[in-house]
């Protein structure tokens, strides 16, 4: 495959590491529209947004991450950092950059793909016969019109019928999880809208929504897919979704569990995979 010449860093954040296929699909899509992609994420690239109770530590994390991106800009010509996570995007814009000299600009992945949609369009040749409810949140619109961008991308997939869902509070589902009742209300409203719209699929935009809604796969006959899965389907690529499989009763391969450290898997990961669904 041709690799583009414009060099970017794809900053996928921390929690997207639950969804490796979504990272790989994102990289593939960026490459298909002409970017040369270096991916970066995990705790070593933490933005610090989840550490409000540790302002000094959060400040150090932000400085480290900006310094790494500055190095990539200076030494590798990667002067654009492409975000996935709305928390990371807003934190970089509002707090990290004003507190650290940044030698790069940022853009959300949906902006880059929408701006080069003419390159994506010829690749979307496979009919995707789904009626899709888009699970949306109000947040990030202050920075990126992400709901419109994703809608625009999905509208290019042949055969796919798109139904705009209710706009929920917060920037993604994890933000609602800390407020009693808020996440389950958003989930109920999403499923009610899917039913009212005769949808067979709920499409998530962000990883944390996908994480929360994955446990509801198949409820009322409704499937859960992320927008990158659907774009890939339109390209004829049947993308797997390991996390969704694990969250609905499956388990990782034993060899993978042993490689990851079985005791830590049992203590840290299995409880998350077996917790009750949000509604």
């Amino acid at each position: 495959m041709d690799v583009g010449t414009e060099r970017i860093t794809f900053w996928f954040g921390c929690n997207m590491l639950r969804h490796a296929e979504m990272i790989r699909l994102s990289i593939m899509l960026l490459e298909r529209v002409g970017y040369n992609v270096a991916a970066a994420g995990g705790p070593a690239y933490c933005c610090g947004t989840a550490h409000d109770h540790q302002p000094h530590g959060a400040s150090n994390m932000a400085a480290r991450t900006v310094a790494r991106f500055n190095d990539a800009a200076d030494n590798e010509g990667r002067g654009k950092v492409v975000t996935w996570c709305p928390s990371c995007h807003m934190h970089m814009s509002d707090i990290m950059a004003p507190g650290n000299a940044a030698a790069f600009e940022i853009a959300h992945i949906t902006e880059l793909l929408a701006d080069r949609a003419e390159r994506l369009a010829p690749l979307l040749q496979t009919e995707v016969k789904r009626r899709v409810l888009l699970h949306r949140h109000a947040g990030l619109a202050t920075h990126v019109a992400v709901n419109d961008r994703v809608s625009g991308l999905l509208a290019r997939i042949p055969g796919l019928q798109l139904v705009p869902g209710p706009v929920h509070p917060g920037h993604m589902c994890s933000a609602l999880a800390a407020v009693p009742g808020a996440l389950s209300k958003a989930t109920r409203e999403t499923w009610a809208a899917a039913g009212a719209g005769s949808c067979d699929t709920v499409c998530t935009i962000f990883h944390s929504c996908h994480r929360e809604l994955a446990a509801l796969e198949g409820k009322d006959g409704v499937r859960v897919r992320n927008w990158v899965h659907l774009v890939a389907e339109g390209m004829g690529i049947e993308a797997s979704d390991a996390y969704l499989g694990w969250r609905t009763g499956g388990a990782p391969d034993i060899a993978a569990i042993e490689r990851a450290d079985e005791a830590r898997y049992r203590a840290l990961v299995e409880p998350e995979l077996r917790k009750p669904s949000p509604s």
């Binding site: 991916a39 814009s93 650290n100």
Partner: protein, 144 residues
């Protein structure tokens, strides 16, 4: 594309210490941000709290003073919906209401200690296990 601001301080901690009082000075405690916030319904404060008193609490927190319990409940429930930003009549003067709420929340956590710190020491170890379950050695080496 989001154009990044030029740095105004040498650390984010220093920037927030600078920005908080600036934003608080622009705030008139009119209550518009509170009125626009969808999380107010989730915490049972719609109609039951004085928006002006709640938003005056933001200014108090940024000064390091204790705020009313309604303000604490509200900043603690902030889910970054961002609707407060457009609702703020001082926006054109430079007031980013969401950032003011964020800084007030940090003050409630760390200065007045009216909000309990929610620490999850297992968050990063859990993410690393998820990564090792799924990523190849090459991906682990290159991406993380």
């Amino acid at each position: 594309m989001t154009k990044l601001q030029a740095a105004r301080a040498e650390t984010t901690e220093a920037y927030l210490a600078l920005a908080g009082p600036e934003l608080a000075a622009l705030c008139t405690a009119c209550g518009a941000c509170f009125g626009a916030c969808p999380m107010v319904d989730h915490i049972g404060l719609r109609g039951g709290a004085d928006p002006k008193a709640v938003t005056d609490g933001l200014r108090r927190l940024v000064r390091g003073d204790a705020a009313p319990k309604e303000t604490i409940a509200w900043v603690g429930a902030c889910a970054k919906s961002g609707l407060c930003v457009a609702a703020c009549p001082q926006r054109d003067a430079g007031l980013d209401a969401m950032l003011l709420v964020r800084i007030a929340k940090q003050a409630a956590l760390n200065a007045t200690r009216q909000l309990p710190a929610k620490q999850d020491p297992t968050a990063f170890p859990r993410i690393k296990i998820f990564a090792r379950l799924q990523l190849s050695d090459e991906e682990l080496e290159k991406w993380m």
